[in-house]
């Protein structure tokens, strides 16, 4: 026994001690993360490998836990909205909408028609930025550097559009109970109308450059099978579920806002693998653009302003009771459950993050695959760690 083995710190932390080697001999336990680039921040996965093959995997969460739910119990109802922009940096507007929608349901506020259309346009634009960020980062994880530059070229244009009505570029918090912070100006609508044909031309380029690439296809096809049964057991939603062949989308199954007025498809794939999830997301971008186009057409005839008259102040007092509201985010079903005791401060806020459920399917999907494929599976789930840890 060497001198080092007696040291207390050589024992490792709680998770290292709990994650004892299995029955098999000659296995190696390694930590992937919390500083691994493919874990997008601070996810740590403990993996037991036999050679190159994964025997066991276990995600360790909590490195980015910021107590958003507890923070809600100390803020005023309106003061919690900026938190929703920080829960998920990829698709913050869906989180904004879920929270604001729950409070509106509790207070019985009807949002003006124009505000609903503006919300749809901005959330769908935000979905495009979310999917572009994922697309660039996923291909970067798999070893291709240049595609992220193309993705950020388009994303930059979207951010320039979105900064006009929201005054921010990443952590949007421009939803208000009863409407939106600001109305869109004519220039903004003009920019959106210019952007959509431009982006339609770019999508075939993405297909040529990356989707059809034989190296990428060989790496992600048939990897990380998450089928319907697994999705049901773990509660996976969003593109993960749609890639398993289930056309489940909150925008269609439980239409909120004005989504029942648009004609769009729900892309699905039957392959259940990483490539399926990849293709579903790319197809979703096209559908988002269709929704934006229809919303822009109907926006002119919509009544009302960008916010309801006599909108509640941030220190509003909703009646005692509870409400649940769910929306379709870039990663799946986002749900917010609020409980009020009739005071200025929420009694309880529960956030349902889609990434949390999706991550746990990784354990089963990754078992038996090789280590390099684990990165491909992890990336295809589109994990945003702040959302998982909350």
């Amino acid at each position: 026994m060497s001198a080092y083995q007696n040291l207390e710190q050589m024992k490792g932390d709680f998770y290292t001690q709990k994650f004892a080697a299995g029955k098999q001999d000659d296995t190696l336990i390694i930590n992937m993360g919390p500083q691994h680039p493919s874990t997008h921040g601070v996810l740590r996965i403990m993996i037991e490998v036999d050679g190159e093959y994964i025997v066991r995997a276990e995600p360790v969460l909590g490195y980015l836990h910021r107590m958003h739910e507890k923070m809600g119990e100390t803020q005023t109802w309106g003061g919690f909205i900026p938190n929703m922009g920080r829960v998920d940096y990829g698709h913050p507007m869906a989180w904004n909408w879920a929270y604001v929608g729950a409070v509106e349901k509790l207070m019985g506020i009807e949002v003006p028609e124009r505000a609903e259309y503006l919300r749809v346009i901005m959330t769908e634009l935000n979905r495009l930025t979310s999917h572009l960020l994922w697309w660039g980062a996923y291909v970067l994880d798999l070893g291709a550097f240049t595609p992220i530059l193309y993705a950020f070229d388009d994303r930059e244009m979207l951010l320039d559009i979105l900064q006009r009505p929201s005054a921010s570029r990443l952590t949007y918090s421009n939803f208000r109970v009863g409407g939106l912070q600001m109305d869109m100006d004519d220039k903004c609508i003009e920019l959106i109308k210019e952007f959509i044909p431009h982006f339609r031309k770019r999508l075939p380029m993405y297909k040529d450059l990356v989707t059809d690439n034989i190296i990428l296809r060989r790496r992600i096809e048939g990897i990380g099978i998450i089928d319907q049964d697994m999705c049901r057991r773990y509660g996976c939603t969003g593109p993960v579920l749609r890639a398993a062949g289930v056309p489940y989308d909150i925008r269609r199954t439980e239409p909120y806002s004005v989504y029942d007025r648009f004609d769009f498809e729900i892309p699905t794939e039957d392959t259940c693998c990483s490539a399926g999830r990849y293709l579903v997301r790319l197809a979703e971008m096209e559908q988002s653009m269709r929704i934006i186009e229809q919303a822009l057409e109907q926006l002119d005839s919509a009544e009302g302003g960008h916010i309801v008259d006599k909108a509640p102040k941030p220190s509003m007092k909703p009646p005692a009771g509870e409400a649940y509201f769910c929306v379709e985010g870039g990663r799946g079903k986002i749900g917010v459950h609020v409980v009020s005791d009739g005071s200025k401060v929420p009694y309880r806020i529960k956030l349902r993050a889609p990434g949390y459920s999706n991550l746990h399917a990784f354990v089963e999907a990754a078992t038996g695959t090789i280590l390099a494929d684990a990165v491909a599976i992890l990336g295809s789930l589109d994990l945003i760690i702040p959302e998982i840890d909350r």
Partner: protein
Amino acid sequence: MGKFKDNVIQPILDCWSLFVGLKVTGKYFCKPLVTVHYPRQVIDNENLTTYGGHVELVGKPKDPATPKCISCMMCVTNCPSKCLTVVKQKAPKPTPEEEAAMKAAEEAGEKVKKPKAPKNPAKFIYDYTKCSLCGTCIENCPAKSLRFSNNIYWVATSRKEMKIDLLARLKEQANEMPAAAPAPKPEATAAAEKEA
């Protein structure tokens, strides 16, 4: 034979996709740059004006050095991050004449007229390290005395510098731009057009 086709010929044919990708790369290699070489070049002004930087005070149209603010504390109470500190001005000491008038009023049993405090704030301190740029203060300001600044290139080297005295900033801005009217003079635009 089938195995040979699947394992040897098909992979070679699939490699064509690499050339398609290279074609895209070559096409974009010949196109002009989309990025900006920052210190030498800057992005166009339109993007700066729509950018929401830190919060700043708006001056009165006739007197740009004093803010429209009426020290109602709406911004302070509604701020979720508690990053604003507003100190109201105290009422000035009454002059001897006013004091005499006050005494006379008190003796006569009338309502005492005390000198009123000016509405403008004495201090308006903003802690940028805490601000989440949600814009709640801007919406709730009844006097419309707050707005997002376009201060995009601002950097601070210490935490202390992030605490901005907004009143001092407003005075500085007023000194920099003595012209109260935001629209440029017709002569100036004509000169600019000539230059262009």
